[in-house]
Amino acid sequence: MDMAGEDASIEPKIMSSQWQLNINNLTNTSIVINPTSNSNVESSACSSNSMADSICPPIWNQPVSGQSLGYCDMIVENNTSTSNTLGNGTSSIIPVRPNAILRESTFLRDFPVILPSSLPHLPADSGFIERAARFSCFGGGNFVDMMNPFRMSESLNPYTRDLASEGPLEVLAGKGSKSLPVMQTQTHEMNAIERSMEVPLPVEQGTEGSSIKNDKMIEHFPSSHDEAIFGIGLSAHEFAEAEFSGSGIQGELEDDAGESSAKELGSKKRKRTGQSNNGSRQAANETAMDHAEIQQQGYQNRASSKPCGKHDKPGSQGSDLPKEEYIHVRARRGQAINSHSLAERVRREKISERMKFLQDLVPGCSKVTGKAVMLDEIINYVQSLQRQVEFLSMKLSTVNPRLDFNIEGLLAKEPRAGPPSSLAFSSCVTMPYPPLHQSQTGIIQAVLPGLGSFSGPLQGSVNPQLTTVGGRFKESTSQVHCAWEDELCNIIQMGFTSNDHLNGQNFGGHLKSEL
């Protein structure tokens, strides 16, 4: 959990703060949005449900029931396994949840749920295999690639046209959630597929073909959802920043995903959905068709996207969708577009986002502006922290250890080593060091804060503790305790053996060189 958690803890924090901004800006209605907690993605998922609840009423009149917007279902039915009815009408509004929620999410879990309910029996198809192979090639999981089969099947178009007159989509458009162009177009496609499957159709082949494609899309979706979601998030933000170019949130919006792995994909998606962004302002059916067409062209031109054929669109908002074989990029006002500056822009946004995060970490740096000053502060702070560590270790080396440890005092004095970590201690101890614990109970009780109070019930309740605290402890400690032991032994042994070398060194000056 550590890596994913720690990484994710940084990213969702940034992202969830930007969600609020996004949501406040993107939904032009007077929907009151409950402030989402900035803490974890799990809690944010629950809060997204509450937010969905708050948004639900205005949309709910529209008949959205039958077509479970399958994709959107996943977003809301995140960790809670609520019924489909909750997810249906509301999920389409949530603009940029996907990228953060689905990272942790239950996409993999939910998709199979959708599958049996919505898909009829699928005949095996040779085209299936071919398309499956094609999908697996584009490991980036573009919606583009998934949309391609839709492009090929003409029978889908009438359904997209049908959808154009659908209530919820109009509501979506009307509510100014044009920030969801990609979502819309993709929900168009999804809706088309769902409807084509649920409603008996005159064109049987189209049904089967689309259902097969849907199945494929859904099957391969989990493998690629991350990057697709980032793409969606990025594209939505790209659109949003074009829309609200006056707002100062552009930088943050654009960089919401913040993943370097998705950077490439994101920039490409931004280009592609630049077109779809344009189109969605027009009639929805045109969007779907154009989107599909241009997706295909985009796909064909993907290899040569960057060098060739970029049309500058300096802040043009309402231009028509040119149907050429070029990748169109939505630009911010006053910024030139070429391949280099786009990548530069992405990089700069990422760096500025990270600098902001660092700013939060360093105490007393909230008012500092500018990268140079900020860097200076960071360097000073890290140096001071390192000096403090040295000083404290010096102090520790001179202090005489007392035999009678005040366990409660230790427990109280370590602020973060509160109850959770004392439990961590106990479980850490029990898993790798059971013999140690039994033989040297007194010493370890003295040393470890909080263990003394736990020693009694500890032995009796090792298993429940482990289960409650989670597999994380068990797997982490059992896997790594050897490494810890080795580390410990190494360090101390090496320290003892190589002391003669150390004596010749200066005190603090060679910190880096020694370490």
Partner: protein
């Protein structure tokens, strides 16, 4: 018996692990402590404690972070590194990589170099990743200082 409904946050896990390891190390160090330590011994202990502080923090973090990997590697190869440096008298192992991907060439180059020196393993990273590692490293350092301070306070009271 306390009931814990919530999993501890990721960072408190690292902190608790570090605290546990560090206390153990201190315990071991104090076992063999001579009754009247000379300055040399004290200095020795100081260095041991310092190194173990960094090393245990790195191992508590797991080698998932570049800086923790770099720290562990440096600790493991301390003797080797020292011998190499003494022989060659040049910092052969710390290659000077120009700060790639630095957006502010004029202003921040020196600052970025300093930052790279500070953060272990930061020599060969792109600037963006350096910032990531710096933030995580700072968090861990803060936790380390906090824990050590607590231990010292406990010892001294």
């Amino acid at each position: 018996m306390k009931t814990h409904n919530q999993l501890p946050s990721s960072h408190s896990l690292v902190e608790s692990r570090f605290a546990y390891l560090f206390l153990k190390a201190l315990k071991e160090l104090n076992k063999n402590r001579p009754s009247s330590p000379s300055i040399r011994d004290t200095y020795r202990r100081y260095n041991l404690i310092r190194v173990s502080a960094y090393g245990l923090m790195a191992s508590a973090v797991r080698p998932r972070r570049a800086w923790s990997r770099a720290t562990l590697w440096k600790i493991r190869n301390r003797t080797f590194l020292r011998a190499l440096m003494k022989r060659s008298r040049t910092r052969s192992l710390t290659r000077r990589v120009p700060a790639r991907g630095n957006p502010k060439k004029g202003l921040g180059c020196k600052l970025v170099k300093d930052l790279r020196k500070l953060v272990p393993g930061g020599e060969e990273m792109k600037f963006c990743r350096l910032l990531n590692e710096t933030s995580h490293y700072m968090k861990c350092l803060q936790a380390q200082v906090q824990i050590m301070r607590n231990i010292v306070d406990h010892y001294s009271t």
